[in-house]
Amino acid sequence: MTDSRKPQGAVASDLVRRAEEAGQDYEVGLESLSQMQLAWRKFKGHRLALLGLTILGILIGVAVLGPLLLPYNFATIPLPDKIVYEGRPPSAEHFFGETGGLQRDVFRLVVNGARTSLFIGFSSMFIGVVIGTIVGSIAGFVGGFVDNFLMRIVDVMLSLPVLFVILVASRFFGNGNVILIVVIFGLFSWMGISRLVRSQFLSIREREFVEAARAVGVTDRRIIFRHILPNAFSPIVVSSSLIVAGNIIGEAFVSFLGFGVNPTTPTWGNILSNALTFIPLGNWWWPLFPGMAIILTVLAVNFIGDGLRDAFDPRSRA
C-alpha cells in the first residue's frame, strides 16, 4: 500500500471541478442522523406509542422499585383482625381494596405481581428471540437441506398444542418455579421469529449491497452480522414486542388455571386465580385491578410495537 496510486494525472483543479460537480445537485447536511436517530424521531411523533412507552416505563419502575417500598413478606402477614370471609372494598387506607380470606392489600399484591409478570414476559421473549434469530439466520443463510430441516421443526413446533404441553411440563418439572415458566414460554415463542428472520435473510442476501460486500471480499460472518442482521432488526423488534404481550397473557392464563407460578408468589394471573371464588360475593376490586394491569401492559406493549413498526418503515416520514 504505497502512494503510487495517488492521482498522479489528476491536477488539483481537476479535483476541484469534480467536487463542484458532485456538490451541485445536493448539499449534505452538516448534522448527521443515523437510522436509529431517524427512527427515534419518527417514534416520538407517534402519540400512542409514546403513551405506551410511558405506561410501560411506569410499570417497569413499579415492578423494580415497588416491592422495595411496599414489601409483601408472607411471613409477616398480619392475621386478619377479625374473622371475616369477605374482602373489603377500596378505602382510603387500601385504595385497591383488600382480599377476602387473609385480607391482603390488593395494591401490594398487584405491585409485587408486576415484578413476576413482567419478568416472565420479557425474559421469555428474550429467549424466544435469541433462539428464533439463530435458527432463522442459519436456515436463511445456509439454505438447502438445513433450511428445509429447520423449517420442518418449526412446523412441528407450531402444530403442537402449546397450552397442553406447557401445562404438562409445568406439572412434570416441579411446582411453579418462575424460571421454569420463563424457559417453557421461551421455548414456545421462537417459531414466528425464526420464520421472520429466515425470510429477511432470503430477501436481504440478494440485495446489491450484500453483493457489493462480497465483491470486495467481505467474509460471510461479517455479511451476516454487519449487513443482514442490522437490516432485519426492525421487524424482529416489532414482533418481539408482540411476543412480550402474548407471553404476559399466556402466563396469566396458565397461572389462572393453577398450573403456572406457585400460587404463593403473586403474579397477575395468580391473583386472578385466587379471586375466582370470591367473585360471586361481589368482591369486584380483587380481580379488577390485576386484570387492569394485564390489559394496560399488553396495550402499552402493543402500542410500542405499532410505533416501532412505523418508525422503522422507510416509507413513512416524520
Binding site: P7, G9, V28, E208, A213, A215
Partner: protein, 364 residues
C-alpha cells in the same frame, strides 16, 4: 472472404488483461412437488472475448440478454457453469476462497442501483473501508485516511465519512459506490450500468468521472449498458449481446459505422434522434425476445430477423448456430449472411416498414 471461426480477437496486441473463453452461466429452475429441476435458464451461453489493458470494453443488449450475469460471473459473484475467465494469464474460475479474496482487490464492480448497493445501516466510512478491512488493513486510522482519499478522488468532501447513505443524492451515492471500488486500487472494473439509474444531467458527470479515473489510475473497464449513445461516447470496443451470446464485436468506430449483424443494425436504428425535425426510418423488430429458458434452435435471432425474412428464410438460420467469425473489416460477427447486409438492403427493408407516427404537434 476470411472465414474464420476462431474466438481470439484479431487486434490482440500483447497479453489481454481479461480473457473470457466459452463462459456459460445456466440457472436451474426447480419446480414440482419434489423440487426437481424442470428447466434451465441459459443466461450466458458460451461467450468469448478479450479485454486489453487500458481499454473500455462495452457490452450492450436488451434487458435480460445476460449482460449483468456475464459481468458478475467474471468476478465470480455468480459461479460460472462452464468456461474460463483469465485475469493476467491466471485462471480465476477455479480459485479457492482465500486467493479469490486477494484477487478481488484487482477486479472490482460498480453497481447499477445507487440506492440498493449501499447498506442503509452503515456509515460511509464503513461502506468504503470494508473492502480494505477485508483485505487485511486492520488499522482504523490508515483505513479512514484511505477512505477520505477515495472520497476526495470521486469529488466528495472528506468530512462525509460519518454520514449515512440516505443523506446523499443518487449521483453522490453512485460516487460513493465508485469510491468503494476504487479504495481497493483495482486494475479492472466492471461497470454494471453505472449511470442508467441517474438523472440525465448527472449521467455525464459520472461518465466523465469514470473517464478521469481511468486516466489517473490506469483502469480498464468492462462497461455494461443498454444505452447505445453512452456506449459510443464512452468505449473503445463494443460487444453486442443477444440471448446470452455475443452476436457482434468490434471497435466503436467500426461497429457504429459498419454494423453487420441484423440485430445490431436494428439496435442502432433505435437510437433516438435529438433533432425533432429529422425523422428517420427505424427498423422495428417484431415480436419479443424469446425466453432464455428455450432459446430458438440455430441462430438465436432467427425468430425476429429481418434479414432472414428478406433472404427468403434460408434453412441454415434454423439448423446451424452461427459462430463469431472475423470479417474483412476486422470485426467479428455471428451471422451466416453478414455479407448480405448492405446499406441498400437496410434502406429497402426500412422503407417497407410503416414509418413511426409523427408527434402530434410539429415544432415551428
Amino acid at each position: 472472404m476470411t472465414e474464420m471461426t476462431t474466438s481470439t480477437t484479431p487486434m490482440a496486441a500483447g497479453e489481454p488483461l481479461v480473457r473470457v473463453k466459452g463462459l456459460k452461466k445456466h440457472f436451474p429452475i426447480h419446480g414440482g412437488l419434489l423440487r426437481r429441476q424442470v428447466a434451465t435458464v441459459y443466461a450466458v451461453d458460451g461467450v468469448d472475448f478479450d479485454v486489453q489493458p487500458g481499454e473500455i470494453f462495452s457490452l450492450v443488449g436488451e434487458s435480460g440478454c445476460g449482460k449483468t450475469t456475464l459481468g458478475r460471473s467474471l468476478l465470480r459473484l455468480v459461479e460460472p457453469t462452464a468456461g474460463t475467465v483469465t485475469f493476467r494469464g491466471r485462471d480465476v474460475t477455479g480459485l479457492p476462497a482465500g486467493e479469490l479474496r486477494a484477487l478481488r482487490r484487482k477486479m472490482q464492480i460498480i453497481f447499477q442501483d445507487p440506492f440498493g448497493s449501499l447498506n442503509p445501516r452503515m456509515p460511509i466510512s464503513d461502506i468504503i473501508g470494508e473492502g480494505l478491512l477485508a483485505q487485511g488493513l486492520t488499522d482504523r486510522k490508515t483505513r479512514d485516511s484511505k477512505v477520505e482519499d477515495a472520497l476526495e478522488t470521486v469529488g466528495l468532501r472528506r468530512e462525509y465519512t460519518r454520514r449515512y447513505p440516505h443523506e446523499f443524492s443518487g449521483g453522490q451515492r453512485q460516487r460513493i459506490g465508485i469510491a468503494r471500488a476504487l479504495a481497493l486500487e483495482p486494475e479492472f472494473v466492471v461497470c454494471d450500468e453505472p449511470v442508467s439509474a441517474l438523472d440525465v444531467s448527472i449521467q455525464s458527470q459520472v461518465l466523465n468521472l469514470l473517464l478521469d479515473l481511468r486516466r489517473d489510475f490506469n483502469l480498464t473497464y468492462l462497461f455494461i449498458s443498454h444505452n447505445l449513445s453512452v456506449v459510443q461516447y464512452f468505449s473503445d470496443r463494443v460487444g453486442v449481446m443477444y440471448l446470452g451470446r455475443i452476436v457482434e464485436l468490434g471497435t466503436v468506430a467500426e461497429l457504429y459505422r459498419n454494423a453487420r449483424h441484423p440485430y445490431t443494425i436494428a439496435l442502432l436504428s433505435a437510437i433516438p434522434e435529438p433533432d425533432p425535425r429529422r425523422r428517420k426510418k427505424r427498423l422495428v423488430l417484431t415480436g419479443d425476445v424469446p425466453s432464455p429458458v428455450a432459446p430458438p434452435p440455430g441462430c438465436r435471432f432467427n425468430t425476429r430477423c429481418w434479414l432472414r425474412e428478406k433472404l427468403g428464410n434460408p434453412e441454415r438460420c434454423v439448423t446451424e448456430e452461427p459462430e463469431l467469425r472475423v470479417l474483412q473489416s476486422g470485426h467479428q460477427v455471428a451471422c451466416h449472411f453478414a455479407e448480405d447486409v448492405t446499406s441498400a438492403a437496410v434502406v429497402a427493408v426500412a422503407a417497407s416498414q410503416p414509418a413511426i407516427a409523427p408527434a402530434a404537434s410539429e415544432p415551428a
